[in-house]
Symmetry: C2
Subunit: 228 residues, 2 copies
Amino acid sequence: MFQHAGIAQSLRPFAKSDIRLDKRPETATSAVLSGMPMTYPRGAEIYGEGEAFGHIYQVVSGVVRSVKLLPDGRRQISGFYLPGDIFGFEAGDVHHFSAEAVVQTKIIAFRWQSLIATGTRSIGFFHELLNVAMKDLRHTQAQLLVVGRKSALERVAAFLLEMSERSASPNFVELPMPRHDIADYLGLTLETVSRMFAELKELGAIALDGARRVHLLDRDRLAGASTN
Amino acid sequence: MFQHAGIAQSLRPFAKSDIRLDKRPETATSAVLSGMPMTYPRGAEIYGEGEAFGHIYQVVSGVVRSVKLLPDGRRQISGFYLPGDIFGFEAGDVHHFSAEAVVQTKIIAFRWQSLIATGTRSIGFFHELLNVAMKDLRHTQAQLLVVGRKSALERVAAFLLEMSERSASPNFVELPMPRHDIADYLGLTLETVSRMFAELKELGAIALDGARRVHLLDRDRLAGASTN
DNA sequence: CGGGATATTGACTCTTATCAATGCCCGTGG
DNA sequence: CCACGGGCATTGATAAGAGTCAATATCCCG
């Protein structure tokens, strides 16, 4: 029942100063368009569950995971954000997930109040924001189907196809996150994820070059295993 | 593995004419604010997966479920919409879920193009839309945690607490949907849902008055079983 | 009051979690 | 440059939770 009581990720510890503001923040009026660039080391928290909501973020480089924890340590990752992706939307005034850097990650933060200030923004801009939020919604709904109704093999296959679609070279996928994160994204354990990788290998659908480099050998077989 | 191949819900069949437009639609310009009221019988589809996206909807009375099917019939429900709720957001130009009436349901449809037409709408209105979409996102993310990481008992307990929060009388919940829908919302089978209701009864957390009427006897015990 | 849909309960199976041992890879320091 | 060490990943044995199949039971609705 308790799937990993010890989440305490043995991160290489980082000093608070490792989280750095890459440029000086602009004054309130001029910051509206530009945002603040920040750099976070591997494992650093960008914002925490329960913290006040004040910014939305865009990934410049690196990878971010959106995380929710149960009191006993069980963890769910709702998504991974890659360069170009915008994250951190909140309906209320506190964050309901936390966001963490999976690897060293550069991010631009935009003040929400500045973004939505009436008069400084066009309706087209709002429409754009709405579109980003709706895409995130669509992704989360799709993930709900994966987690709620697919078998372990199907989930892992679906994950690889998703990563492949977001990758520059479709048949070669670099996984920046450990098995543990993949497991918590898919609602599985890391052991099961590992076993499913092995099974996909046996099926001839993929080949592994180390744990983090995946070649998609047979896309059809992978799609077959994923049941889309 | 196939969790319910025969989704073919034995609905009391309905004629297409059962889906009725309650008032004449207004002309394009005057319809912007008012929308079209429609009535759907139990089980009727409001829109289908893959259909063109053109409207968003508000529930007036009844209940709507948002549904996604796998080719083999496995089904996931991403949410239930109650009177007052707005649903049907889509980032692209097709629906990625379908929406169905759980019971006879009255709905108002708003043309998306009219809603977002530049010049007809204020930024405050957009902000409101964005807020609704973000709330839906938050709900779906929360549900992902429930489905990805909670045990069967915890899922059912969480479901009852959710319904209770949305109910007029917090200690008495009327469930308009069958066990099958609850199961597909929680990523379980209807048998397991039924067993968990029995277990919660044994625990003294709830009492059942028929299958659809639930008394929350001991809210703390229910919250304890749900692990929030 | 009857009948079909819906729900409950039981027996058994199977997938995935858990616990545990080993292996691998990479960065660091000798 | 090689050896060491630690996190990460793989693999194995077993257990547990939920699914499946099947037999009633109950509840609406006409």
